[in-house]
Symmetry: C2
Subunit: 453 residues, 2 copies
């Protein structure tokens, strides 16, 4: 498919990277990526999927070096990476690399922080490795997007495992040969089917990508060898998992233009393609006040992907509702809410939500951009109101401010670990570049256990 040794060139870049190679604004975005990820991991820490996974796997944990963020549990680094990958994604509230719809931090940060608790590293080195991992993950995603995603792969899992292996390998100081093997091992474990969307297994994908990426780096370090051309080879990752592949997306301008600087953060706790709709409905609510009770009909004009991903007409649970643009529109109009509180089993089944949800219609239009929506309201008196959202809040054109990130962090984390721990964890996260990463992980543990330590 290509004459270049893509995997090896990428591995050479990873192993040769040092912190000073990364521009200040990229490092700053890396800190925001970390802060947002940690808040999401805390927000999801008490989810039933976490309880189930811990029930199943904690009895098999090795030495408990690493923190299950926002809980009193500790696990070996592989299992901690898995659990933190689950919690950080389970509310569908995490970061997004918009070009590929990859949620970059889940696989990468979950693996790297679990490793950092085992093998001490400086916050500066941690951030360098985190950015390397996100960069590798997003570039590999770019090289096969959209063909790979269209085939049905959950790209956060499939590309994420490379990011986790790259970040861990970078932090461990793997040489280029061993990093090549680590990427080969990652590629051969790349997985995640979109069929699992709407179940606990969706969040398992970034978790298992973190676990497998970390294991890949550890195996390669010990001399367990793998393919030399794991990504670009004739029977390699790109050829098998995608019907199209552009290697220049991986190697072009490496170290010059930074995909890691293009990360974005969700203001709403659901699938990213619903965000323009919630944003528009919130704006409408602010404009029309009590008239939300006079709505006869809501018409959404969206890109077809919106309905493909989030077209659930009649969600019964909070988790299903994250994949319902219909619920999301109704809830944003009636309650102004797009936070995790909008996606509880209770809210999903409120009579007034059900009533309005039944009057939301969606029309697909391939000429609409995926990040845009046109909303037309018809009131009971026959009058109409139209709202066009070109790019939603949280997109690259309208990024979340640091203050908004803090509010998002404190709101979701506070519900789970309490206000004080949330505040302490937030402060620790902002200071990651000057801190011991392990201390940041420990700052997330709820008070009840901190006392017991």
């Amino acid at each position: 498919m290509t004459d270049r040794m893509v995997t090896r060139e990428l591995a050479q870049w990873i192993s040769g990277l040092s912190g000073s190679d990364i521009p200040g604004e990229v490092r700053s975005e890396g800190v925001r990526t970390f802060v947002n990820w940690l808040g999401c991991a805390l927000g999801g820490a008490d989810h039933p999927s976490m309880d189930a996974a811990l029930r199943a796997l904690s009895p098999f944990s090795g030495p408990r070096s690493s923190t299950v963020l926002g809980r009193t549990d500790t696990l070996d680094p592989m299992n901690a990476a898995l659990l933190n990958g689950i919690s950080s994604h389970v509310l569908d509230y995490d970061d997004t690399h918009l070009k590929t719809i990859i949620h970059p931090a889940g696989p990468v940060a979950s693996a790297l922080l679990a490793l950092a608790e085992l093998r001490p590293m400086s916050g500066e080195d941690f951030l360098t490795a985190l950015i390397a991992g996100v960069e590798v993950e997003c570039r590999i995603g770019n090289s096969v997007y959209p063909a790979h995603y269209d085939r049905g792969w959950h790209i956060t899992g499939t590309a994420g495992v490379f990011g986790a292996a790259a970040a861990c390998g970078q932090a461990m100081g793997l040489d280029a040969q061993r990093q090549t093997w680590a990427l080969g091992l990652a590629g051969t474990q790349s997985s995640g089917l979109r069929e699992a969307f709407g179940t606990m297994t969706k969040s398992y994908h970034p978790g298992v990508a973190a676990m497998n990426g970390l294991r890949s780096a550890l195996l390669a370090e010990a001399g367990f060898d793998s393919a030399e051309q794991g990504i670009e080879g004739r029977r390699g990752w790109a050829a098998i998992l995608s019907d199209a592949f552009d290697e220049t997306e991986i190697l072009g301008g490496l170290g010059e233009r930074w995909e890691a600087a293009l990360n974005s953060y969700k203001p709403f706790a659901c699938g990213i393609v619903i965000h323009p709709t919630i944003d528009g409905c919130q704006q409408i609510r602010a404009e029309i006040g009590d008239r939300v009770n006079d709505i006869a009909k809501v018409e959404l004009r969206t890109h077809p992907l919106v309905l493909e991903l989030t077209g659930k007409r009649a969600p019964r649970t909070g988790l299903e509702a994250k994949f319902s643009v219909f619920h999301s529109a109704a809830c944003a109009l009636l309650r102004g809410d797009g936070a995790p509180t909008a996606f509880t089993d209770e809210v999903v089944n409120l009579p007034e939500i059900l009533d309005l949800r039944g009057r939301v219609e969606a029309i697909t239009d391939p000429d609409m951009h995926e990040a845009s929506v046109n909303i037309t309201l018809t009131f009971n008196d026959g009058t109409t109101l139209e709202k066009y959202v070109d790019r939603a809040i949280g997109s690259r054109d309208r990024p979340l401010s640091d203050a908004h990130l803090e509010q998002k962090f404190l709101t979701q984390a506070g519900l789970v670990v309490g206000e004080d721990v949330a505040k302490a964890a937030l402060d620790a996260a902002w200071g990651i570049e000057r801190a011991d990463p392990a201390s940041v992980a420990r700052a997330t543990v709820p008070v009840s256990s901190a006392a017991a330590e």
Copy 2:
């Protein structure tokens, strides 16, 4: 793709299966499958890939309930499943479901025996679960073969993870709902790229399939949910990992015709497509005696797949030589050997082997069957000799006898654990149906540690 609930129907069959549903001859073949697998795991137990994997992963093991077969190491069941999956495949000497080239026992037996050491079960129930796992794995393989394999997937890994989840779920008594989730979790972790062939990572595939299949069953048991149509869904396993899918291969005649009864066992320690060539060369050697030193040229006529999979012209290591029909022909002619001893770094680089290897040529012929070969020898005096092998020893038409299986077991296991332990392990393996499976695992531990217990 289909209107039937394939995953659920399969899960119902697995959870409803009892030992008496399985005909005696299928159970007998199941015992042979187990014996052959255990011998291979012992033969591969001291391979460098095992040392590397243990160096990397043993420090992270949970409570060490399960045996690394043929070694003094113990690990938690997930890691033991991984390691035993590696050792049983690393010599390329294991079993083969010929229709799909799946090596069935590696993923299934490795997961199930590690589980059986944690949760006691009768040998009878063990055998039932083993056969269920192999059946599920081979049927799922059939449903996508050859399109799936042709795409580049290592089908032993990709189908194997279903087999491991089915076997473990069956043994754990999962109900149909939980078994459905276990299959969904398995499918979303299905992986393994053929690009890794010729490296340690090839053997990692059955190992990680065993580990992931076992983890899938444990998660499902704890209520971690997954897709309802993991196999047949629109974004499910078959649609994403294969360009063709026939559900009737999975559900047709389930419980009536048995793929598990069609397992075969390699007489030679290398890729199955080389076997006709080794068989033919051994026959020639027996016929011509000393004239093997007068060979001017060897010409092989084979199906194209033989060269695609095993076309390495100049292997440098024993591992690479397993993928060289050229080395294998030379070694079988000069030394009569196709056992693990034919694939050592030393033998691969013997001057007389290198010399004859350089005079072996291969011509591909799409009209040849994959399991056949035509060998033409030209001697220094210009005379020629032709040998056609229709089906190699070890194929379904010429199956290995129990006595040959024993000899294979004792030869390879004896080299690693010594003659006495090999003999005891073999006896234990034949008696699996009336034994505590955990005692069979412990019977493989080399003497030095048995004393230390």
